[in-house]
């Protein structure tokens, strides 16, 4: 392997290195220093993120098993940024006494899932894809069950891992059928040997179900809310943005690059699934009181919006999906960040507890409002641009009915996002959450998110950059 090859794989290699450093560090750090290790790990990850930004060659490695291109690099960088924010946000939570002895493990598990996502995105072969997806899931289940002392955390863990094994079973079955009808598991080969046989489509649909599970599309979404609610907030955030984002990325790559032949079929499938996902997600989100659960259903609906970018099969579609994912990372992490801060300080997670928050904690409330507006697609924050372009991508190919259903759903969505705003700004409370000061890391995390929410929309350069980097690999 030449240096170029190393550079091509730098995301994975650097991350593996980080993984090893933490593993070694665990052995050598004493009990008391473990707490301080948090900072080191965050800095370490920041370095990883920075290295990821370096320019690098493109191409395939391992005989097509691994492929790296502008798009995948961009995707990984986006995921890096998101993960960095998650790590920053989990800082305080990790400092809790019951978590102190497992700080290293936390980082290792998280990093290994991220590594899985990288391999998933860079896969050139379904085996790599499969291993990547499992690597991205199994440690996550452990992380979901991370809070050993909580029933709910354990429940979240078991629900995640069992659902995921069912889904990966179905996905694998689908892959086996694709293998059987096409004869290869290399992406390039499958694209080169078109097959529109019924069995291929069956395989595709089973594969789709598995991806639907990862992206939490209806009807494969039912685990989502339970796991988000039970898991630690930072893990829920991670699941909702990074894991989902990565799944969306690889899914769109596979759809565009591996299955262009059966585009007619998958457009129909996506049409149906998108409508169901958006609608059901919204209908459930409507009545949620627990903030984490609320965000879970909202993220289901958001996943449905992602599909609008998928459906066109165009360059614009891929661009907008990536762009929206970036926006969505900032937005949703801001929301989860606030939920996490408040849960950390007061243990309150219900929307009713947020009544009158603005009067006691105006900055938090404003951030939350920005996040809600961005999720709802209200200008001038980034969500508006993201949604507009997503819808444009679907409309470009004439899916106006789908766009119509989606935009009408945004009204329902707006309703429940406004409920949060209403709770914070309008409702009055007998005993509101009292004023508290957040620590530096929480503030930093939110500041990054706010900057992202405000800037990503207006910065057309970013969109253009993504557009130039998108499509293909």
């Amino acid at each position: 392997m030449s240096l170029d090859n190393f550079l091509m794989m730098r995301h994975e290699l650097v991350l593996t290195l980080a993984f090893l450093i933490i593993l070694v560090a665990e052995v050598f750090t004493g009990e008391k220093k473990k707490e301080k290790f948090r900072g080191f790990a965050v800095v370490l990850f920041a370095v990883v993120t920075a290295i990821g930004m370096l320019p690098a060659p493109e191409g395939t490695l391992f005989g097509g098993m691994y492929q790296a291109g502008r798009t995948t690099t961009l995707m990984k960088n986006i995921l890096n940024i998101g993960t960095l924010i998650v790590l920053i946000q989990s800082f305080t939570w990790l400092g809790r006494p019951e978590n102190r002895d497992r700080i290293h493990e936390y980082f290792m598990l998280l990093i290994s899932t991220l590594l899985g996502m990288y391999f998933m995105i860079s896969a050139g072969h379904f085996l790599m894809f499969y291993i990547g997806i499992e690597l991205a899931t199994i440690p996550l289940a452990a992380l979901a069950a991370f809070e050993r002392y909580k029933n709910r955390s354990a429940e979240a863990g078991i629900k995640l891992i069992l659902s995921s094994s069912l889904s990966s079973g179905i996905l694998l079955y689908g892959l086996s059928m694709i293998y059987g009808t096409v004869g290869s598991l290399y992406f390039a080969d499958i694209a080169a040997r078109p097959s529109t046989a019924a069995l291929t489509i069956l395989g595709f649909i089973f594969f789709f179900s598995g991806m639907g599970f990862k992206m939490s599309l209806v009807p494969f979404h039912l685990w989502t809310a339970d796991v988000y609610e039970g898991a630690p907030v930072s893990i829920a955030a991670y699941l909702s943005v990074i894991s989902k984002g990565a799944a969306a990325f690889i899914f769109i790559i596979i759809l565009y690059n591996v299955f262009p032949v059966i585009i007619d079929t998958w457009q129909k499938v996506i049409w149906v699934i998108a409508v169901m996902t958006i609608t059901i997600g919204n209908l459930f989100a409507l009545r949620q009181k627990n903030m984490k659960r609320f965000l879970a259903f909202s993220s289901i609906a958001q996943a449905g919006f992602f599909l609008l970018g998928f459906i066109g099969g165009s360059k614009l579609g891929m661009t907008t999906v990536i762009y929206y994912a970036l926006i969505y990372i900032f937005t949703n992490l801001a929301a989860f960040g606030i939920v996490s801060i408040i849960a950390e300080k007061t243990g309150k997670e219900s929307m009713d507890d947020y009544d009158g928050l603005y009067r006691t904690n105006p900055k938090l409330s404003l951030t939350m409002m920005l996040a809600m507006f961005s999720l709802a697609g209200i200008p001038p924050v980034a969500g508006f641009f993201g949604k507009f372009f997503l819808f444009a991508a679907a409309a470009e190919k004439g899916f106006y009915v789908l766009v119509a259903i989606a935009v009408l759903n945004t009204i329902v969505a707006l309703y429940y996002y406004l409920l949060v705003v209403k709770a914070m700004f309008i409702n009055k409370s007998e005993n509101p959450i009292t004023y508290f000061k957040s620590d530096f890391m929480s503030k930093l995390g939110l500041a990054i998110c706010i900057a992202g929410i405000v800037v990503t929309g207006f910065a057309s350069g970013l969109f253009e950059m993504i557009r130039n980097l998108s499509y293909g690999i």
């Binding site: 819808f391 209403k422 969109f463």
Partner: protein, 496 residues
Amino acid sequence: MNILSCLVIIPLLTITGILLVKDARQARVVSAIGMGIQLITAFIIVFMYLSERKAGNTDQMLLMSSYEWFRSLNIYYTVGVDGISVAMIALTSIVVSAGVFASWEMEDLKKEFFISLMLLATGVFGFFISLDLFTMFLFYELAVIPMYILIGIWGSGPKEYAAMKLTLMLMGGSALLMIGLFGIYFNSAPDGGELTFNIIEISKITIPIQAQRWFFPLTFVGFGVLGALFPLHTWSPDGHSSAPTAVSMLHAGVLMKLGGYGCFRVAMFLMPEAANEMAWIFIILTTISVVYGAFGAIVQKDLKYINAYSSVSHCGLVLFAILMMNRTAMTGAVIQMVSHGLMTALFFALIGMIYGRTHTRIISEMGGLMKVIPFLGVAYVIAGLASLGLPGLSGFVAEMNIFFGSFEHPDTFHRVATIIAITSIVITAVYILRVIAILLLGPVRDPHYSEFNDARWYEKLSILALLTGIVYIGMIPSGLSGIIRDSIMPIVEKLM
């Protein structure tokens, strides 16, 4: 930098200013200064516009400038004005300034109130100067959303319900609109070439008629919701009655005009063939709006409800006139927008001030106010007279343009609709005089009324600003009407 962009930047700077000041009481001063500058800018723009025209510039849009934004989607930040936008800008700046003064004594969360108000202003100004559908849509939504906060926090009555309903219905409208915009955008280059959001560019091509048939109604209804198109007007009574004074003023005075403005600037201008085909449906709806709103207003008990229904009627007239598709009627529509904007803002300002004193808006609980607060009383009467279309005040000019323009239509259907619409002037007189009689005239109802102060200086300022506009247009209409008539020409030509 283009002077038009100042209209967007000044409110934003004002927000920054408000954030910087410590004392909440200073916030109002900052906003007043900001909006004062805004007012001046608006009038500078009016003069610049007029002098350009006088110098013989015959372009449809003047003071144009364009900045590339999203290159690959061909989205530009393009601004420019014609006579219509200039009129709307002037209206908006007057109403916003008046609104700031009308909310001088805001009690709770003053800073936040003014920030939201400025945000709303940003959206409205941005909307009127935009020539790019994307930015236009952006500003449109930007203008709607602060309403939620404004009504929700500072409103009265069932404010949460009203705020939610208003926001959802308006955003529902904008959702339809969005589809319409996509339809326009993706059909903006039927012969190949680059897609565009630019209104001027799109107006030069013909969108395929099949597409128009789909997207015209979507766009029209989308904007129509904001213009209180029957039966999608129901946000208006609840929303207006719950909103705080300045917000009602801005909303009824300016925001509802976004609907009418959009209807012809986008829906009809860009899709004239479908507009011609489908106008009859909307003419029926708007005719119903006009009469229905007026009848609805007669039996209301709450001052704000009366005015809200009256707005339904008057805004219905705007849409009605737009659909008549001739120069006179459309000119009338624009004048009606300006006129209604001023007088309804005045109404809401007065209602707010009266409410501030009597703490009720139920007309039957008040009486004889003319004796105790003559300034407000007289202003109310004048606003009422403007509303019922008295010559010499703005409403008359607008209505006459509308009626005569509509009646010009060679088709009997249009003329019958016109005559039905005309009946509204009598009904309007009935409810306006009913209110005046109960509220202002008659014996003083409550001895406590003698403790009331007549209008304070800031209230007077607010009222006079609006009154001046009403009287000016009513007395010397030819200036405004001339500007609008010239600018409406390209649109009408397209529709012919």
